[in-house]
């Protein structure tokens, strides 16, 4: 995900203890927080025909962000949104505005575009004032024409600047249009990519071809770290046109025919060493082993009051350990990249979320200046963070350089599931205390997990080929965002501990750390509400004053038809089938400082089979100003259903030094029959700037579901995923 100035890298950069848990206000405020000294012409070009091209290093990835950008620019400029087109993520054509990720597309990228468009608007007003011999204050821009607000003849923006450059810097203090006058922002403009996607015409990186291109596949070792000993090329002699590429322990094949490359990779016989020194590990050990595994000292991130004393003297104390597993990005397409390595320069087509970041990695891999590498973004299947796209690009570069031709490299399913860098496992140890009146007086939480992402130095192919020799950077401690409780209380301590090593490479996976953290923090709150004999929604409301927080909570509760009662009504309520009915709730403010989300769920649990049927999910969502309500709703729905999948089903499994969950059978995700009714209420606040929505609604899903299962059954789920086998064992 974002590697320049993203909040999470901002927090882990420097490797020092980060005390500032709440974000600098400038980060939280949205527009204006970047200090754009960008050239206006790098963002925005008005053509002689009056059409406008916007350029950005931010990329769509299927989120619809490009549509939001067009709306933001159209709004400020007064030019119809249909006239806008986008150039995204081409290091030869778009300036570096940062990578895409961390739910910063709208608050950061959108703010940059808004300021650029507003700067252009002022320039156009001045040009028109000169042309029309009047004052800029008398002018307005409407439908691509600058004209007197009072009426009269105007001039088109094309005639003022079409085809020419502004030669201006983006003005970070430029006057912005008042959101109260918006006519384009806030409208559910349809995405321009959906017709092509619905008719099979959209061009993905998987569909791109260059002349003379060969098809490549890679062969990974049977265990992590194994060395290649020998290759028996005679084993594939019957397959036409195949060339084997071996660079130290990197092994690949190329062929003019894709099926030949696939079969060759499948059938090529190679001998590998036993696994390298890494200690054996297994999924089953992980949850219990993490607590005592070697790592850094515990780092206190937040400490208020005297939590230890308050817990010791609390009338009621609840302690629990929660566990969130390793998970895969599990992109629907295995990653793909096309590389054309030439002495004169290298070109790569990739679905990376950060073209400039990838350019730097490839330049390092090739030992050439970044200026001799061009990375062009093309959509892939959704990536939801740093999936295998970087590794696939590096593989393609190795193959293309070795054979002197452009190579399209696509991973197979087992490559993607087996080798994409994973979202890290987390052990979450939490405790809370109540006074004799059931008031929350103490909250303590600690996350233990793999050190923060430092995966970029450990690209698979170059690592095997001995090309990148830098040792991996030490990562920072696991994030504690959303591991604190948002409810008012006198004593709270939040801490983080990084393990010395991770059994597999990790990277950011959607809402990194926040789903597990919220699972524990909002799970514990539910446990405390039960201990207090209080309704869980009422228990939460009591600790909040922020009207926006209360508004989302009340809305979600109303949408689901929340039945006020002390937490847990196990086995009182059944469906006709005998399944136990329950309701669950969770609330977060994303990263403590951004989007507000409340989520309520109705579930039915079959004790005999252990199967959870989620019937209805209600979500109230407030991210401030809404740019495109349908695009936003699509993101919120996607957050919910993807995280429901992660919560119900997903866990990367291991045996010794290899991943064993290497297909959709061993790593199942949500299928249609399980998809519940999802109802989303969007609360618009035009008076405040927009936060991101690409992650926030993910965070409360696991907690709300676990709380609903408790309500139905009296069984508290503290380890994800909530598989039928795990539930059956819990009921036994």
């Amino acid at each position: 995900m974002t590697r320049r100035l993203s909040r999470r890298n901002f927090l882990i950069s420097g490797g020092a203890l980060v005390v500032s848990f709440r974000l600098p206000s400038a980060f939280a405020q949205g527009p204006g927080f970047t200090a754009p000294a960008y050239d206006l012409d790098s963002f925005l070009a008005i053509r002689p025909d009056g059409s406008v091209t916007l350029s950005t290093s931010h990329v769509d990835c299927g989120t619809g962000i490009l549509t939001a950008y067009r709306q933001i620019a159209a709004e400020e400029l007064g030019i119809p949104v249909e006239r806008f087109s986008m150039v995204e993520g081409d290091t030869a054509a778009t300036p570096n505005h940062g990578g895409t990720g961390g739910s910063t597309g709208v608050p950061r990228g959108g703010a940059d575009i808004r300021h650029a468009a507003a700067t252009a608007r002022q320039a156009l007003l001045q040009l028109a004032a000169t042309r029309l011999n009047c004052d800029t204050a008398e002018l307005t821009i409407d439908k691509g024409e600058v004209r007197p607000a009072a009426g009269g003849k105007g001039v088109t923006v094309a005639s003022l600047i079409g085809g020419r450059q502004f030669n201006l810097k983006v003005d970070s203090k430029v006057a912005l249009k008042s959101p109260s006058t918006y006519t384009v922002v806030g409208k559910p403009i349809l995405r321009s990519d959906v017709p092509a996607k619905s008719t099979g015409r959209h061009v993905y990186v998987q569909d791109h071809a260059v002349p003379g291109m060969l098809h490549g596949r890679v062969l990974r070792p049977p265990t992590i770290g194994a060395k290649l000993l020998s290759v028996d090329e005679s084993s594939i002699k019957a397959i036409p046109g195949v060339r084997v590429v071996r660079i130290e322990s990197f092994l690949g094949v190329v062929a003019p025919d894709e099926w030949a490359a696939i079969r060759a990779a499948r059938e090529l016989k190679a001998a590998w060493s036993d696994a390298a020194a890494a200690a054996p590990f297994a999924t089953a050990d992980l949850a219990s082993a993490m607590g005592s595994a070697p790592g850094t000292e515990e780092q206190t991130i937040l400490d208020q009051g005297d939590t230890t004393a308050a817990l010791a003297t609390a009338s009621k104390k609840v302690e629990a350990a929660y566990y969130w597993p390793f998970q895969s990005h599990a992109s629907l397409s295995p990653c793909c990249a096309i590389a054309d390595v030439k002495d004169s320069g290298t070109t790569i087509w990739s679905s990376t979320q950060d073209t400039y970041g990838l350019r730097g990695l490839v330049a390092k891999q090739l030992g050439t200046p970044p200026a001799k590498v061009r990375v062009v973004y093309l959509d892939g299947s959704g990536s939801y963070g740093s999936n295998g796209a970087y590794d696939a690009a590096a593989d393609a570069v190795l193959l293309s350089r070795a054979v002197g031709k452009p190579v399209r490299l696509q991973w197979m399913r087992h490559d993607e599931h087996g080798w994409d860098p994973k979202g890290p496992a987390q052990l979450l140890q939490v405790a809370g205390g109540l006074d004799k009146d059931g008031n929350l007086i103490a909250f303590e939480s600690k996350v233990t997990g793999a050190p923060g992402p430092a995966w970029v130095e450990t690209l698979l192919g170059p690592g095997s080929a001995g090309v990148l020799s830098d040792p991996p950077r030490a990562g920072g401690p696991p994030t504690t965002q959303n591991l604190e409780t948002p409810y008012a209380l006198p004593n709270m301590r939040v801490s983080s501990r990084a393990l010395a090593a991770t059994p597999i490479r990790i990277s950011n996976l959607r809402a990194p750390g926040k789903i597990g953290n919220t699972f524990a923090s909002e799970g514990l709150i539910d446990e405390l509400a039960f201990a207090a004999g209080m309704d869980p929604v009422a228990f939460r409301r009591r600790g909040l004053k922020d009207p926006r927080a209360l508004a989302v909570i009340d809305r979600a509760a109303a949408m689901i038809g929340w039945q006020r009662r002390p937490a847990h009504s196990a086995q009182e309520s059944k469906e006709a089938s005998g399944a136990l009915k329950g309701q669950g709730f969770a609330y977060i403010r994303y990263k403590q400082a951004e989007t507000y989300v409340a989520m309520a769920m109705n579930v039915a649990v079959d004790r005999a089979t252990g199967k959870i049927a989620v019937r209805h999910i209600a979500c109230a969502h407030d991210c401030g100003l809404i740019i495109n309500p349908d695009g936003l709703r699509n993101q919120v729905e996607g957050n919910i259903l993807q995280t429901l999948s992660r919560t119900l089903h997903e866990e990367v499994t291991f045996a010794e030094n290899r991943v064993t969950s290497t297909d959709w059978a061993s790593y199942p995700i949500l299928r249609f029959p399980e998809a519940p009714v999802v109802e989303v209420a969007l609360i618009d606040h035009t008076e405040v700037s927009a936060w991101g929505a690409g992650e926030a609604a993910s965070a409360p899903v696991a907690a709300a579901l676990a709380n609903a299962v408790f309500d139905a059954t009296g069984v508290r789920l503290r380890t994800a995923p909530f598989t039928a086998a795990r539930l059956k064992a819990a009921f036994a």
Binding site: G200, P240, L641
Partner: protein
Amino acid sequence: MPSYELNVNHRAVTVDSWDPDQPLLYVLRNSLSLHGTKFGCGLGQCGACTVLVDGKPTFSCLLPVQRAAGRSITTIEGLGTPDQPTAVQAAFIAEQAAQCGYCTSGMVVRATALLEANPHPTAEQAKEGLAPNLCRCGTHTRIVNAVMRAAASPASKA
């Protein structure tokens, strides 16, 4: 090199394949440049490669070209176009039933077959019918809504 006669999108074509077991998916994508059909797993687990073979939804990643010979194959390109979408495709567009869209071709093809067999499914029937196909972005609600919209449309014969 052996060649095979197929009927793809109502057009007779002859394709060469050095391997009679080459899956239809690669023939469509690489010999016929029909890129709408996607590789997802090669295992028949995800449905991204779904095409109609004699009207039945089929994983093209598992069907050897020699067994596709002589049969009538419809890919996503054989349905509508952006300018003239079928009722199912129009419903996907109206519902904005995509994020990354990588699964969409397979979804549209399966939904087309589903409505052919059952023109007025319940939402539960639609979900059961779509069960072989995976969506990773979490657009299930919209896809089901699109199927229901197409079923309700006057031109529901896709």
